[in-house]
């Protein structure tokens, strides 16, 4: 049996490389100063989906919700083996928290009617691990979080091993199911050369618009729209169009999207600046260390 897999991917700022320059004076993070990358554990989710396709056949669709620039991660998903890529983008998605995000994504995923939905365990910009389970709830499907290994896939039955950090659990269930995948699950494959050749010009409608505008700054609206549509059709015929969906296309209920659909709000953001406590300097000599140990015994810190 072949499986229809949908993988949710996210473009994230590389928070592992935050330096002083990436912080604004007011303590907020200057996202622009950080390289944008494919969220690491989403690569593990994609790999698991590709692995399922290799073994059983079927289809892998990568979806992301984000700014038009997020099409970069979709292209990367295509390079690695995804069959189709979908960009969910709309100004009205801005300021969505995890609840609103999961609602919007649920509208998109429902259109694809998948057997298996795969997400990375969590994204490194927020580390919340919330969108996967929240999406599973909205889709009304079972979830297996922290998946470390797929044990069985047969007809509509799935079994997987979950990692607990200090242990593991093996569970079995029925499709459709949502999996969140941990880093230990696999080693993501790298870009495949012939796929890079094929998809290097893959674009979303937003990418096309940007390109045509840049090349023809003075074009009138009608000519512009015609040019965009012609190019989009061309890409579609070549099989290298990144589909682009907005909230109207998804028929999403706006009260659950963006700021309105997000119960959590930011009250305050502070940067982590450590103020020195005024440490006592201890000479690294026998005398210095003995004195310190003595002091710690005196005040009962050392029993």
């Amino acid at each position: 049996m072949a499986y229809n897999c949908v993988v949710l991917v996210k473009q994230v700022p590389d928070t592992t490389r935050i330096t002083g320059e990436a912080m604004n004076p007011d303590g907020t993070v200057n996202r622009g100063a950080l390289p944008a990358i494919f969220n690491p554990e989403d690569l593990n989710a994609l790999e698991l989906a590709l692995d399922i396709k290799d073994k059983f056949g079927g289809k892998v669709t990568a979806i992301t919700m984000g700014l038009p620039t997020a099409s970069t991660v979709l292209k990367e998903a295509l390079y690695r083996g995804a069959d189709e890529a979908i960009l969910v983008t709309d100004r009205r998605c801005a300021a969505s928290d995890t609840l609103a995000t999961s609602y919007i994504l649920s509208c998109a995923v429902k259109k694809l009617d998948p057997d298996i939905i795969l997400c990375g365990r969590q994204a490194i910009d927020g580390d919340t691990a919330q969108v996967g389970p929240q999406l599973a709830e909205k889709l009304g499907v079972a979830q297996i979080t922290y998946v470390e290994k797929l044990l069985q896939l047969e007809e509509d039955r799935i079994a997987a091993k979950r990692s607990f950090g200090n242990g593991w659990q093996e569970v079995r269930g029925k499709l459709p199911v949502l999996l969140t995948v941990v880093e230990e699950a696999n080693e993501p494959r790298v870009n495949v050369a012939h796929r890079m050749m094929k998809y290097k010009n893959a674009m979303s409608k937003a990418d096309v618009e940007k390109q045509i505008r840049a090349e023809n700054p003075d074009m009138d609206d009608e000519a512009f729209n015609n040019a965009v549509n012609a190019e989009v059709t061309k890409l579609e015929n070549k099989g290298i169009l990144i589909k682009q969906w907005d909230l109207d296309f998804l028929a999403a209920d706006l009260q659950w999207c963006g700021r309105d659909g997000s119960p959590t709000k930011v009250h305050r953001i502070q940067s982590v600046v450590l103020a020195a406590k005024g440490a006592k300097d201890v000479e690294a000599t026998d005398q210095g260390i003995t004195d310190m140990v003595h002091e710690l015994i005196e005040d009962n810190t050392i029993a």
């Binding site: 928070t15 935050i18 990436a22 303590g27 993070v29 928290d97 609840l99 999961s102 910009d125 580390d127 919340t128 691990a129 919330q130 969108v131 996967g132 389970p133 929240q134 709830e137 909205k138 079972a142 979830q143 297996i144 979080t145 922290y146 079994a159 607990f164 950090g165 200090n166 242990g167 659990q169 093996e170 569970v171 079995r172 659950w256 119960p263 959590t264 709000k265 009250h267 305050r268 953001i269 502070q270 940067s271 982590v272 450590l274 103020a275 020195a276 406590k277 440490a279 300097d281 201890v282 000479e283 690294a284 000599t285 260390i289 003995t290 310190m292 140990v293 710690l296 015994i297 050392i302």
Partner: protein
């Protein structure tokens, strides 16, 4: 979704396994107690399980709960996403708590988002602190009083965000293990038990648990009075013996940075920091540790901190009480000698 309900209780999910309460549930009770007192409402624990769970109600009272909502059903023996979500969702709609807290354990991080999604409530993950405070919406001047401030590191630990949720309740948060102190039990505290029914059928058990294995943690970092942590600066697994030796002569637990774990000096159980254990011992000795924010997040509440580093500008010195600039290969043996002499 429930509406803002000022008289709602503060709820804590009493995570249990095989009739044993997880530490994080007790830690949540201590924080929950503070919040409930500030809000002038009751603190309740939400306890689900089979018969084995019934024995835990008194203990929850001793650790600060005024009430326990107890739901006993054979189908609740093991934690399962769908069944637990359904029961908790129903309880929330029936009793309308204002705050609902879960541990940020594998189980809590599986459950809380599912409940939040079903309830359409806001949820903040992995909080390291919770407070009560007011929020003013600058645009309108409208003030929301006595909200739950959900405080958490974000962006890989480089910023601290305070999140609030003023219109769709309950205000939900998961809280990291070990960040709230364990309270002392009070054997005289009585608790009110409210029994509730679970409307469950086997269709609510979406998964079947075939097999599981939970290892006892090999090291008890949270309970240790003294911790000696080695970082990448220790240099090799062989040299990490110095850390074990120093720990040994102090009766301390050995800790490690992520870099030391990644380099294979010691096992992951020993990792301290944002993605490891959070600790607050009486004495913390950081050896060859640079003091990255993600590490400091897990140890800065230690009562006394000694830092040993050959780089006088290492950030770890900013949180230290005793600063020793020098080569750990000389300093650590000297410390061991002088401790052996004195103790």
């Amino acid at each position: 979704m429930i509406q803002v309900n000022r008289s709602g209780e503060v709820w804590v999910f009493a995570e249990q396994r095989e009739g044993d309460l997880e530490d994080v549930a007790i830690e949540l009770l201590s924080k929950g107690r503070e919040l409930a007192d500030q809000l002038g409402v009751k603190l309740a624990a939400v306890l689900l399980g089979d018969k084995k769970a019934e024995g835990l109600t008194e203990k929850l009272g001793h650790f600060g709960a005024d009430k326990v909502y107890l739901v006993v059903n054979p189908l609740l023996e093991h934690y399962q996403t769908n069944s637990y979500t359904k029961v908790i969702h129903d309880l929330i709609h029936k009793y309308e708590p204002q705050v609902f807290l879960c541990g940020a354990t594998v189980c809590g991080r599986d459950l809380a988002p599912r409940v939040a999604s079903a309830t359409k409530a806001g949820l903040t993950a992995d909080c390291t602190d919770l407070q009560i405070g007011d929020h003013e919406i600058r645009r309108t001047g409208e003030v929301h009083k006595d909200l739950l401030f959900q405080i958490r590191p974000a962006f890989g630990g480089n910023i601290i965000a305070t999140i609030i949720n003023y219109d769709r309740w309950p205000q939900m948060a998961t809280v990291r293990e070990g960040v709230m102190p364990m309270p002392e039990p009070d054997g005289n505290r009585k608790v009110e038990v409210v029994r509730d029914e679970a409307h469950l059928g086997t269709q609510d058990l979406a998964l079947e648990i075939i097999n599981q294995h939970i290892e006892e943690k090999k090291v008890n970092l949270k309970g240790a009075r003294v911790i000696v942590t080695g970082g990448a600066g220790v240099g090799s697994k062989a040299n990490f013996k110095k850390i074990w030796d120093l720990a040994h002569c102090l009766g301390a637990a050995p800790g490690a940075t992520r870099a030391a774990v990644d380099l294979g000096f010691i096992d992951h159980d020993h990792q301290i920091g944002q993605t490891g254990t959070t600790v607050r011992p009486s004495l913390y000795i950081a050896v060859g540790v640079s003091g990255a924010v993600q590490h400091v997040a897990g140890m800065s509440d230690s009562k006394k901190i000694i830092a040993i580093n050959k780089d006088p500008n290492a950030p770890i010195f900013k949180v230290a009480h005793y600063k020793i600039v020098g080569d750990l290969n000389q300093v650590v043996p000297r410390m061991i000698d002088s401790i052996r002499e004195k103790v």
